[in-house]
């Protein structure tokens, strides 16, 4: 019996996996180009991780700071990413983000406004000008709802609560995907000429994370097994401000907007410690004294063009996260092991208007009224800069017909992502991926589904039930999270990385034999975790291997045994892929050559940085 008659089968031109900002935007574009498009997601539509994005969409629209333009946004992105970004992605992103925002407004997004009725923009870490288009602190919700409304009226077929476990191939090219319905556990085949992976990140491999259960590295793992390459997986962002108390919410995101709107970081001595951590390269734009920082806050509060430089709290995330970590480690932390983030000096009404969900989050979950008292915050695993390696213009991976966009793809953010560049990334590259996937589908013939691949995928999922003896997946997951948190965290060192790889090898063997003894295939989270766990362990290995390979400290990747930049590593990206023997290979790959005019744009800056660090 052929796979197509054995399993529920759907046929499409373009299959988009993941329905966050990137997936929805890709599906909208593919469908607008006339491709029959399916969108598959693990949760209900509109619940993807994009709803958690708070601060805003970075786009050089120059609505409040007229000096802004794509060149400055490009430079800021490269500087924030410490110059190992894919230059072409950084260029396209900076150039196209404003159009993507305007388009979103035409589709119904309701952004906060300036006095003259334009889209308002707010300050954020690492951005020279006020650049983030926002709606209070719930910008992600606005974006996902807008895309969702646009998408459902455009004839995209949405498959909710359906999880993909394998990509299917027809020779070298992509042929579709194998999935199961979460509700019934029934298997389903999507036969498709092109597949776009928009599955987000990997945060669930860590104990303290701002990420939801969905963030298990599915897209990266699917792509890896299908023969694609994973780029720069060592660059994992720890957001400086996650909640630290109560225990149940530890890691939950506290938006950078708190600092963008005037929030101050202090240790238990009352000191604004970030002024101690200003790298030379940021001195032209960051205040060196509290007085100047306070002047900046007074100016933005009054709605004026700031003349002072920005507060040190608005340094890029990697620098602030390390600053906080050091304060806690050296004994100057808050009672629950964080530092204080305080916005209570601003008027209560301003705080409630600009940060409504933060106000409620702290009031409801931690009994803290942020208009009157400081929050306690500490670093939390938030975002992976690395991801599936793609062609910057088309978003196609090394596998013909397989595309990726958003957090699942790598390249744009280099060694550290600036706040706000994620939502714009989703829009810009979601659109490009959808467009090129549809283009690809136009010329590609119908793929053939290989029965053996489909049966193999079904067998893998069945075995979690049929195995007689095996461990509970929750136990192994908890061990993975503890291990990654302590051995492959904010600061890394050779010894610990080596240990992490040994431990991962053991966990991998144990995870290969997990089983689920309770329930059946109907909506069974334990069964679902069995598969997600394999993905997390694989991706954790890529992170640890890449971290071991890069013997320098750059952006979010800090090696205690290799502090500072190394000129050799400045020239390479890391690439992980499946070797012929099935084991993971890792190598350095030279950065793509940047054209002269862009080089010139960032050259002065880069020289300065490589000299002064």
């Amino acid at each position: 019996m052929s796979a197509e008659s054995k399993y529920e089968t759907h046929e499409y031109d373009v299959l988009v996996i993941g329905a966050g900002g990137a997936g929805l935007r890709a599906a909208i574009e593919a469908s607008a180009m006339g491709a029959r498009t399916a969108l598959v997601c693990k949760s209900l539509l509109g619940k993807a991780h994009t709803v958690m994005a708070e601060g805003g969409i970075a786009a050089a629209m120059a609505n409040v700071d007229p000096q802004d333009g794509w060149e400055t946004h490009f430079k800021d992105t490269m500087r924030g990413g410490v110059f190992v970004n894919n230059w072409r992605m950084a260029q396209l992103h900076a150039q196209q983000a404003p159009d993507r925002v305007r388009e979103l407004e035409r589709w119904g997004a309701v952004f906060d406004r300036t006095h003259d009725g334009k889209i308002l923009q707010r300050a954020f870490g690492g951005h020279t000008y006020r650049r983030l288009v926002h709606v209070g602190d719930r910008t992600g919700l606005e974006m996902i709802r807008t895309l969702q409304e646009k998408g459902v009226h455009q004839g995209i077929d949405v498959f909710m609560e359906c999880a993909v476990t394998r990509l299917l191939k027809d020779g070298d090219r992509i042929a579709g995907a194998f999935a199961y319905w979460r509700e019934t556990g029934r298997y389903v085949i999507f036969k498709s000429k092109a597949v776009v992976l928009c599955t987000g990140g990997i945060g669930k491999a860590y104990k303290i994370t701002s990420n939801s259960w969905e963030y298990t590295g599915d897209g990266q793992a699917l792509a890896y097994h299908a023969g694609a390459e994973l780029l720069d997986m060592e660059f994992l962002q720890f957001h400086p401000t996650g909640m630290v108390w109560p225990p149940g919410v530890s890691g939950l995101l506290v938006t950078e907007s708190v600092r963008g709107d005037g929030g101050q970081l202090r240790n238990n001595k009352g000191e604004r410690f970030m002024f101690k951590h200003i790298p030379d390269r940021y001195k032209p734009q960051i205040s060196e004294t509290e007085a100047e920082a306070n002047q900046w806050i007074a100016e933005i509060r009054a709605g004026k063009q700031p003349t002072a430089r920005k507060p040190a709290e608005l340094l890029p995330r990697d620098i602030v996260a390390r600053g906080i970590y050091m304060e806690v480690k050296e004994g100057r932390g808050s009672p629950h092991g964080g530092v204080f983030l305080d916005i209570s000096h601003m008027p209560a009404e301003y705080v409630k208007k600009k940060l409504p969900s933060m106000y409620h989050q702290f009031k409801d979950l931690a009994d803290v009224d942020i208009t009157r008292e400081p929050m306690e915050v500490g670093p939390t695993t938030h975002y992976i800069m690395g991801g599936i390696r793609v062609n910057p213009d088309t978003q196609e991976s090394a596998v013909p017909g397989l595309f990726a966009a958003g957090e699942a793809a790598g390249g744009l953010h280099g060694a550290n992502r600036l706040g706000g560049n994620s939502l714009s990334d989703l829009l810009v590259f979601g659109k490009l991926a959808g467009e090129h996937a549809a283009q690809h589908a136009k010329t590609a013939g119908p793929p053939k589904v290989d029965d053996a691949q489909a049966d193999g995928a079904a067998r893998e999922m069945n075995e979690f039930f049929t195995r007689a003896d095996g461990e509970n997946p929750y136990q192994i997951h908890a061990e993975l999270q503890d291990m990654m948190q302590s051995l492959v965290g904010i600061f890394r060192v050779e010894d610990e990385l080596r240990k992490s790889l040994e431990k991962l090898a053991t966990l991998k063997n144990r995870a290969a034999r997990v089983c689920i003894k309770e329930g059946n295939k109907m909506f069974n989270p334990g069964w679902h975790l069995c598969k997600d766990l394999q993905n997390m362990i694989l991706i954790a290995e890529a992170v640890a291997r890449a971290a071991q390979f890069r013997k320098e400290s750059r952006g979010a990747h800090s090696r205690l045994d290799h502090p500072g930049f190394n000129p050799e590593f400045a020239k390479v990206n890391t690439v992980a892929f499946k070797g012929r023997d099935g084991a993971m290979q890792l190598e350095g790959r030279p950065l793509p050559e940047m054209p002269a005019e862009l080089k010139q744009l960032i050259e002065t800056e880069k020289n300065h940085k490589e000299r002064h660090g």
């Binding site: 949760s43 209900l44 539509l45 509109g46 619940k47 993807a48 991780h49 709803v51 958690m52 407004e105 035409r106 589709w107 119904g108 309701v110 952004f111 906060d112 406004r113 009725g117 709606v135 209070g136 719930r138 919700l141 709802r145 409304e149 646009k150 459902v152 009226h153 949405v158 909710m160 509700e183 939801s212 259960w213 969905e214 108390w245 109560p246 225990p247 149940g248 919410v249 939950l252 995101l253 969900s357 409620h360 989050q361 409801d364 979950l365 931690a366 997946p473 929750y474 908890a478 689920i516 309770e518 329930g519 059946n520 109907m522 909506f523 069974n524 989270p525 334990g526 069964w527 975790l529």
Partner: protein, 254 residues
Amino acid sequence: MAEVRKFKVYRGDKNGGQLTEYNVQVEPGMVVLDGIHQIQRTQAADLACRWNCKAAKCGSCSAEVNGKPRLLCKTRLDDFDPAEIITVRPVKTFPLIRDLVCDVSWNFEVNKKIPPLTPKKTADWVMHQEDMDRVQEFRKCIECFLCQNVCHVLRNHDLKDRFYGPRFMVRIACLEMHPMDGLDRTKLLKDEAGLGFCNITKCCTEVCPEEIHITDNAIIPLKERVADRHYDPLRAFWRKIMGADHPCTCADGG
């Protein structure tokens, strides 16, 4: 020794089920969803429950805790008397799939019937914050469907084929009050959407975790609009002679 709390969680599917007891180790500041996760980790790996953000931003974890519709991620154990058992049941208005997970797909079908933002020809996209404020209130909706769950038209009378429910009144109000929108959805409201079924008991407003004033700010103004357009004879005559009528004529975009 850590405090232990008794939970009773509904286990079952469309063929029936029962409340099952579990003991949960209490941590400070714990919410009901933490308890459910602990049960999954240590006692019932297959306990079905939806969740995503754990921060009251995605609206996935709606359920009924000790009889009250709530988001599990926002319901703290210390809100209850220490001796009280925490009883968690699925929302009642939608068909059960398994344990705490219900089939809410009807809502997604309703949403498709609402014509999206249709900009006026004259739209210049200069919009002022004062006009945005009232639209933004509606945009806060996280689609937890708790309002749908408590609406007696849907919950007690099961008139899902005749009334769209409060969530979608909010959605329509949001479009109708958008400064650049040029479509009139009053006919849809009056007929297919069944606005008249709402008799403003405000149950929806009470349960909204986003504190949207569903009845006062969305439903009542919509009722006024419908009355204005469809029951005011002077206006109807005026429209007839001026030809200024753009009724919404079809379900997928007008």
